[in-house]
């Protein structure tokens, strides 16, 4: 199969879902956003604690992340809800979404003279968009349109030995055979493997940038004055046998395969259109990392997990794969694909990669993932500096 059935957008992108996003610009709009999404079936709430009293780098990062969701290929239309005048401006965000040709609306709680009026306006707008979206049909599209997000979660020693090998096979199949894109992240989880990783860069500039960003994370962590152990690896990683961040990293890098790296991009920045593998500079914190990759426009996310994880995203479907033979039994809702037979049975890693690929084909064509069916999702924008 070199085609899938997707939703065409005016900006040339093709989605695998047709969501209506209701996006909060500040914590004081979160309740209105959540209430509107509770009322309108098919609307996805995007809420967070940021968007005000932030310094410039954080304002830019918050804005870029929210815009990435408003203009995501899987989003049909967006309603932006703001509280009052804020440094992340609701009207500006809604206007930038509209530039991509998507239906876009802006609601301001103060301008509407209170939350009840604002809620009514948000509900009316989201309802109309949901109805319009439901009339749109999936059409055949080339798989080169697709961007494959990669993240790991609750890693253990099986991650690097098994499931990450399946993920690597599937993502390079999309890149090499179909001309798509891949994006992995979690820069502090390169510690110990950064030299070999940087040698995969397409040029010296990208190689040096990878090394510099890894070094920056080590310096940021050292500046805390504490040993990072306990935060990396996490207690669940250590329960699963991972001893140090170096061991976790060397296993984590297996999921990226061994092909060339085109570039390393900023947190929440758009993943480039050219085919190939990209790195997004994010923390290892799963919710923050996955949120960043979603803002970059990845269509779906493969979460390669050791012991199972609830980690998922409302806009970008997440497919959970494990090679730990006990995980599918312990956490069935967190296991879309079980490839443990490649680790402790008689199957090969090529078989494991095929199992994942088959699931990806179903999901991009519309089959919901377990986390979508369960309504699981988390959203967390990475914060750089202090609030003020």
């Amino acid at each position: 199969m070199s085609e899938f059935l997707g939703y065409e957008r005016d900006d040339g992108s093709v989605g695998i879902r047709n969501h209506v996003a209701i996006i909060s610009t500040a914590p004081y709009a979160n309740d209105t956003v959540k209430r509107a999404a509770d009322i309108i079936d098919g609307a996805v709430p995007i809420t967070h604690p940021l968007g005000r009293c932030q310094t410039k780098p954080d304002v830019f990062q918050t804005y870029r992340t929210l815009l990435g969701y408003g203009t995501h290929p899987n989003v049909y239309g967006t309603v932006v809800v703001a509280h009052a005048g804020e440094i992340v401006d609701g009207d500006e965000l809604a206007a930038d979404v509209a530039e991509t040709g998507r239906p876009s609306d802006s609601v301001n709680i103060h301008a509407e003279k209170g939350v009840m009026n604002a809620l009514k306006r948000t509900v009316d707008s989201a309802r109309d968009m949901v109805q319009e979206a439901s009339a749109q049909r999936r059409v055949p599209a080339d798989m080169s349109n697709l961007t494959f997000g990669i993240n790991c979660a609750t890693s253990d020693t099986t991650s690097g030995l098994c499931q990450h090998k399946a993920t690597a096979r599937a993502v390079w199949r999309l890149i090499d055979e179909h001309g798509g894109r891949g994006c992995f992240a979690e820069t502090p989880e390169f510690f110990g493997g950064e030299n070999e990783l940087s040698e995969r860069a397409v040029n010296d500039e990208v190689r040096d940038e990878i090394l510099e960003r890894v070094d920056n994370w080590d310096k940021r962590l050292q500046a805390t004055g504490y040993d990072v152990r306990g935060a990396q690896p996490t207690p669940d990683n250590m329960d699963g046998g991972l001893t140090t961040i170096e061991e976790k990293s060397l296993g984590a890098l297996v999921k990226s395969g061994d092909g060339p790296i085109q570039d390393i991009i900023d947190y929440g920045a758009k993943i480039p259109d050219d085919s190939g593998m990209y790195i997004m500079d994010t923390p290892g914190h799963g919710a923050e990392s996955v949120t960043g990759i979603g803002a970059g426009g990845a269509h779906f996310m493969v979460i390669s997990t050791g012991q199972g994880h609830t980690l998922s995203n409302a806009i970008m479907p997440t497919i959970k794969i494990t090679g730990n033979p006990g995980s599918a039994e312990r956490v069935p809702e967190q296991t879309d694909v079980d490839v443990s037979e490649a680790l402790v049975g008689d199957e090969t890693f090529d078989w494991a990669g095929d199992q994942l690929w088959d699931e990806i084909e179903k999901v991009v064509n519309g089959q919901v993932t377990l986390s979508e069916a369960m309504g699981e999702s988390q959203f967390a924008i990475h914060r750089i500096g202090p609030s003020t």
């Binding site: 080590d218 050292q222 935060a231």
Partner: protein, 107 residues
Amino acid sequence: MADRYLQVVEPSDNVATALRELEAGETVTVAVGDEERTIEVQEDVIFGHKIAVEDIASGETITKYGKSIGNATEDIPAGTWVHVQNVESNYGRGDLAGDKETAAVSE
């Protein structure tokens, strides 16, 4: 024949990952590259955790995937459980950052 549930990634590794439970006192055969080693398990090891496949002296590098995953904080005889109680990392060491700075100043 080597136990397939004890995996050594690269021939230069000095630890194996246990893909089954290991019991203290059992004798296991581990494939390290082309070589097979017979090791007596020193303590119980649960699924997914590591054992030393050779004697490792305090301060020596623990090697997995053919690369350093940290240093031994004590002597680790072959067959011993290798984990956070006897290995320390070399990254994100804010607890040592002050010492490094002091050392740099005194040089």
